[in-house]
Amino acid sequence: MTADTEFSNDAVRLMDMPNASAVSFDPVSRRYGLILGTTGFLIWLIPAAVWSGIYASGRIESSVITGPAGFLLPLVILPFLILGGMLIARATGFALREQDVHLKNGVIWQTRTALPFNRIQHVEMERGPIERYFKLATLKFYTAGGGSADMKIPSLPLEDAARIKTYVLQRAGARHDHD
């Protein structure tokens, strides 16, 4: 190919290509942390109940864990669940540009994903029971890349989710009318 398509960092900057690192991410609903916390709490209930059952039956023999205080042991995990949910929610954000959609997520391993609209095969709106209670929705974007969703924007306010879905599908060109 010709010299101007030679690939180097300088050439890229010269081309004045849109820099995706400059996008500002919008946060998802503030309730996302609450949802994660609630989900974590519901899952936590199971091992906590199992623990209490075993502890009550007196099968645990330990010099450290004794007396009624032993029942409180599972509570140690709860603050981490809630804190974790809050951190994850704060780290999550999305951005829409004219040509692509961006998502950032992850607290320790921070990931930024970009999907161009003209590669999106279809968009799915998903609402779990907790999300329904809070009038929120999760948007799932599928490309031809794999079986599972390539991008998931969690806990968007319902109207926003619907508007984003319509916008993306319009941009994607509605070539794929099969769901």
């Binding site: 398509t5 050439a11 820099n19 995706a20 692509d100 994903t113 031809a144 890349g145």
Partner: protein, 556 residues
């Protein structure tokens, strides 16, 4: 449920006779191209559902058996267990199981055949299939990516073929008409592909655009000449492929895993076997026994190599890859001649694989990856989106790259290395925790000797360094090459505009050092570059987005 299915079967057997006859007579009377279309007429004009040849029963039975074998290696291990370990009644049990299997297979095969119906309605293929789980499929021609013909051994004497309709969608939409007359299959293929072309033509005209890929849409109209042949592999190359591809070792690994899962059940018998057949001849000196065990392993390895070579010859016999009119054509197969064609636009990436045995033999194995599935291939049930090109010399590989990516200067590639932090992080996160997990209890019970597992990360250090050195990336702004591997190498070549998405991941240490792990989502499998300098990773991402978003070329 069952009685319902039978009722259906009863009524439809009569239809078979009446429906099958026009198609068959068409075949018999039309050995020539011009008349061949006559075999299509009854299918095209009829509103009746068509059936496969009754011999399709064989196909269904073979398919069930293959599914069983592939799905349950461990089940087979149990069958083997019955043979070896049950007492006098073993043959009775086996015969009973065999008889039951035969009856079940026959019933299932006949029912599957009776419940499989197809017809062409305008610009769509309608298919009904399924015995218990009935499904109805509508495949419009414009969603059919390719039509592949294949001829399994058991269809050869009857002039029947399988016709696979490949669609871009999920694999649930794959359809295979197994057991239709060859002229009819060719006519259907011609009809589907040419109809699709006219549909695209008119659609494009309406949009006022040029149709550039028109010629490439009709593979049947392309006459291949010797000049179009890119790769034609003689037996010697197939032997090389058999010796140097890794598949057999993967199978061997799975088999070994399965064997050791059942370790408890065969261990006493193995000990008995050794006691009765080995020690009386060789004595029980540990050195001799170790030597015998080593020899045994070598014999098994040699046997596996032989299997691999035979498999390579069966699958790739008279392999021929041609390129004409913007399409790749591939023929191969000893028992089942398969012809597949693949338009350039559908290629998502090209993989050049060189496992270490291939490094010794100085060959590279190519694989063209595409979206969706390519039916009709027995060997391709699990990784059916890859068109494998075995045993290429460096020159042939370069020619192949040039064909697929004409703009890429293959010879001038210099790979950029990834950051050495990869080595430290792989050791500390990948190998240190398991070593610590093993060392802590061992230290507690054995004392200082228990610290030995801590040497493990040091022992794998050379391997990790090797792996780090294998990583490399290169791009000319339009296409890119990513290299990885351990002893051998794997190079993936792809065009930026074919990407489906990009993601950048940073761990805290990567953030501190301005590094990132870049993952490029491709329709034929993802490509990852770990510990890439952040500036490069962001430049790749921005360039990929730019290429995808400004591209007007068809990508699948």
């Amino acid at each position: 449920m069952f009685s319902n299915a039978r009722g259906r079967a009863m009524t439809t057997t009569e239809e078979v006779a009446s429906e099958q006859s026009p198609a068959e007579s068409g075949v018999a009377n039309s050995p020539f191209e011009g008349q061949a279309a006559a075999s299509l007429a009854p299918v095209l004009n009829s509103k009746d559902w068509q059936r496969l040849s009754p011999l399709a029963v064989i196909h269904f039975i073979v398919k069930f058996v293959m599914d069983f074998v592939q799905g349950g290696v461990q089940n087979l291990a149990f069958l083997g267990g019955i043979v070896v370990f049950t007492g006098d009644s073993r043959w009775l049990i086996l015969a009973g199981a065999g008889l039951l299997a035969v009856i079940l297979l026959l019933t299932a095969g006949v029912l599957s055949y009776l419940n499989f119906k197809f017809r062409i309605d305008g610009d769509a293929f309608l298919i009904r299939k399924g015995v218990i789980q009935k499904s109805r499929l509508t495949l419009t021609f414009d969603r059919i990516q390719n039509v592949a013909l294949g001829q399994p051994l058991y269809f050869m004497p009857f002039g029947l073929v399988t016709l696979a309709l490949e669609s871009a969608g999920s694999s649930g939409e794959e359809v295979k008409l197994a057991g239709i007359a060859e002229p009819l299959a060719r006519d259907i293929r011609h009809h589907v592909l040419s109809q699709r072309r006219t549909a695209r033509h008119t659609a494009a005209k309406r949009a006022g655009a040029e149709v550039s890929s028109a010629t490439s849409e009709t593979p049947d109209l392309t006459e291949l000449t010797d000049a179009d042949v890119l790769v034609a592999q003689p037996l010697s190359e197939l032997v090389r492929y058999g010796l140097s591809n890794n598949n057999i070792w993967v199978v061997a690994g799975v088999a070994t895993g399965a064997l050791f899962q059942q370790y408890d059940s065969w261990e006493p018998y193995a000990i008995d076997f050794v006691d009765q057949n080995v020690t009386p001849f060789l004595g029980d000196a540990p050195a001799v026994l170790a030597f015998a065990a080593l020899a045994g392993v070598l014999v098994v390895a040699a046997f596996l190599m032989l299997c691999s070579v035979i498999g390579a010859i069966v699958v790739f016999y008279r392999f021929k890859l041609s390129h004409a009119d913007g399409r790749f054509f591939r023929k191969k197969g000893l028992f089942e001649r398969q012809e597949t064609s693949l338009p350039d636009t559908k290629i998502q990436s090209l993989r050049l694989n060189q496992p270490w045995p291939a490094l010794l033999l100085r060959r590279v194995h190519g694989g063209i990856k595409q979206v969706g599935f390519s039916g009709s291939n027995v060997e391709n049930t699990s990784k059916d989106t890859t068109l494998i090109i075995p045993s290429l010399t460096g020159g042939l590989a370069a020619r192949l790259v040039q064909k697929v990516f004409p703009g890429l200067q293959w010879d001038g590639i210099t790979f950029a290395p990834i950051d050495p932090l990869f080595v430290t992080k792989t050791l500390t996160y990948g190998f240190l925790p398991p070593a610590l997990l093993a060392a802590v209890p061992l230290l507690y019970f054995l004392g200082a000797v228990g610290a030995l597992p801590l040497l493990f990360p040091l022992m794998v250090l050379p391997l990790v360094i090797l792996r780090w050195r294998r990583y490399g990336y290169f791009s000319d702004g339009q296409s890119a090459v990513v290299r990885s591997g351990l002893f051998g190498t794997k190079r993936t070549v792809f065009a930026f505009f074919k990407a489906q998405g990009v993601s950048l991941t940073q761990s805290p240490s990567q953030r501190k050092r301005s590094l990132a792990t870049l993952t490029i989502l491709l329709a034929g499998g993802n490509v990852t570059v770990p510990f890439m300098p952040l500036a490069d990773a962001e430049a790749w991402r921005d360039r990929i987005l730019y290429e995808v978003e400004t591209s007007t070329q068809p990508w699948m």
